[in-house]
Symmetry: none
Subunit: 411 residues, 2 copies
């Protein structure tokens, strides 16, 4: 039986509450072989005290050695195997700018590019035009109209934009369509080619839009052409409530994470501003309404991407001070502290390293393991914890177990 | 998506170098419950210093509790699930004697046996005849000729030989054919029976060869008959270069390991003689030509099979002195030290115990775990390491991640 079937069959109602606190890009690396990671170096008395009462482990987001993007990494945290459930690039890009995607929409990531007088690509990123220029030409592209279709063109940044096609009548769009980007220079863009019969009318519409758009762009070098990639629809993921029987609320300030939470059927809760304190306020305000909260902290990842060890440690300290005690004050039944992937400041990028993870509930077996700083929440302590090195997709089933929300399997 | 698809889709070119140092049968057992294993008892200052800067874990070659043969164990180290990819026994036996098997060949393991006057088997191993006698009768069997087929008969040892059929024309041979060995006494050998229509002409050829061979053997008791087992062809495994994008060189002195490396598409490099120093010399001479090296050490296993604890520890010490510093001097980007399986001298055979494994790269998180000897490379330290107890098939994906040779999965 697949895991989701198991969850659907076994979950039972309850009044217990689960919080999954996700520090984006939490995992790190030491600066010297015998040094501490960002998490180990951060002064985190609250997380350390919690770790002493918790089980620890290292979560593998996708598979060993694989560096995940944010979409797949979050699906894994929500229990969806990211190799089985795929959110297309166009959909992720639309979610990333906060576009209110509908189930019937087809979304594509667009790249402006430069072509020569023969129509051959000379720059796949149109010289990385400034975002302001992107906004000007995107405004012009909104004049392209298709029969029976509402089109949305939205700036992402530099040479990137999003195109969304939404049927106005009963037409169903299909998105099994290849990229137009040939991924090389000196050749023309490809037409949008349908990969199945259902997708052919949509491909024809896409090609019609591309043709009209290129006519407008030809007078606007270096962005005198464009490519579309990752055409996709809402993947129709199983919904969190059906799978786990949990009413789920998402607290995140960045559009991409709010979007993924929405795709799995969570309610995305309003947050007044971007500060951690605003997210905590949202958690307090909605505490009674939900069984499960996804609480997302973005800035650990941004600091890691910038290669800023101290700033990443500082964000972790801020979470320790402003978020962890506030969550504990609400008296959750299960608290998981984890990350979607590692973003070591030493690499300035996402990485394949498994993610330090802590699971606390009144029914957990505290590990009592220690790291270089004694009893603490850190990569090395987690490497010795009793959760072991485990698939991130196990977090939700474990949380449900600890929340007494799964009945016995078999007699 | 299967793991190999993931590897094929994500691997990127690079200049980094990976070495997988395989001490055959590395894992061991203590002589007394509170004693040390062979690896723990060995004096290994270089491996211990490396372990302090590495991640440790215990690799499971096939599945928990399963004792692997050398073929499946090596496939696992190379990332090929040995339950999915099968090298037939006939092929393994041919590789084991260094036979230059071609893709069109059908190979079988042969056993001489004794039959009574009614043709009923009285000894399935022909009294374990001496190898010299085997060589004499194998020479006689080379006189058996089949139409359109070149036959090879080669001594393995005692009662064991290899038969290879190679088509000389356009005929394709198929090997879905059952063993002739009934695995019991008092019954006659079975005919070679095809399990599909394609294999019927090959089975007919095999039966023709068996009939002629038995006529020759009937005057040579106790080897007055024979059985064929494990008829098989080169399984056409996915090739290392396609899967991982690595140019791979194999350094091994025993035919069997050279053969398996060849089946997965590695270049098998010449080694002047059998000493570890000769293998190191080959590594040095070819360092610039390959992305990945499989470096095989045989004698740990042989000592374990002989039940010789001290000799096995001694081989490990020799590797520590003659191989480990030499590899580090070449400045690899990723070094894995592992075994294909355990061969505890206490058991005098392969065993199911997971295999101590060390992964070093400049991007690894050193575990800082200790064993009975402090910071060291040993079974108990590995049992506390952050690689956990992991499938051996994860080693290559992890190596590629640490070598920065996999791009991000998803956006």
């Amino acid at each position: 039986m697949a895991n989701f079937e198991l969850m659907k069959n076994l979950h039972v109602p309850g009044t217990t509450k689960i919080v999954q606190l996700v520090l984006d890009g939490l995992g790190g690396l030491p600066r010297e072989p015998d040094g501490k990671t960002e998490l180990e170096a951060a002064n985190t008395p609250n997380l350390d005290a919690l770790a002493a009462r918790s089980q620890l482990g290292l979560a593998v987001p996708v598979r060993p050695g694989i560096t995940p993007g944010s979409g797949p990494a979050h699906l894994a945290l929500f229990g969806y195997d990211p190799l089985e459930y795929d959110i297309g690039r166009g959909v992720l890009e639309a979610l990333g700018i906060g576009f209110d995607l509908q189930p019937e929409d087809v979304a594509a990531r667009g790249n402006f590019c430069t072509v020569d007088e023969d129509g051959l690509i000379t720059d796949r990123r149109a010289g990385r035009i400034p975002t302001e220029f992107n906004e000007q030409i995107v405004a012009l592209l909104r004049d392209v109209h298709l029969p029976g279709i509402q089109t949305f063109v939205e700036t992402v940044k530099e040479y990137r934009f999003v195109l969304v096609l939404r049927p106005t009548g009963n037409q169903t769009l299909f998105a099994n369509i290849l990229d137009t980007d040939p991924q090389q220079l000196g050749v023309p863009p490809l037409p949008a080619r349908a990969q199945d019969e259902d997708s052919e009318p949509t491909a024809a519409l896409v090609n019609e839009w591309i043709g009209a758009a290129r006519k407008i762009l030809k007078d606007h070098p270096p962005a005198n052409s464009l490519n579309l990639r990752g055409l996709a629809k809402d993947p129709g993921l199983p919904k969190f409530g059906d799978v786990y029987g949990l009413k789920a609320g998402a607290i995140a300030t960045y559009p991409m994470y709010r979007g993924v939470a929405k795709l799995v059927g969570m309610d995305v809760l309003p947050v007044a501003a971007e500060a951690l304190e605003d997210e905590v306020e949202t958690l307090r305000n909605h505490w009674d309404e939900y069984d499960y909260f996804f609480f997302h902290v973005k800035k650990t990842d941004s600091a890691g991407e910038d290669g800023d060890f101290e700033r990443k440690a500082g964000v972790i300290e801020h979470v320790d001070e402003a978020v962890v005690p506030a969550i504990l004050d609400l008296d959750p039944d299960v608290l998981i502290v984890t990350g979607d992937h590692s973003t070591p400041s030493a690499l300035k990028s996402h990485s394949w390293h498994p993610v330090p993870t802590l699971l606390w509930s009144r029914y957990c077996r505290p590990d009592g393991v220690t790291g270089p700083g004694g009893a603490e929440f850190g990569e090395r302590a987690c490497g010795r914890g009793s959760l072991g090195v485990f698939p991130a997709t196990d977090e939700l089933p474990l949380a449900l177990g600890h929340a007494l929300r799964l009945t016995k399997y078999g007699a």
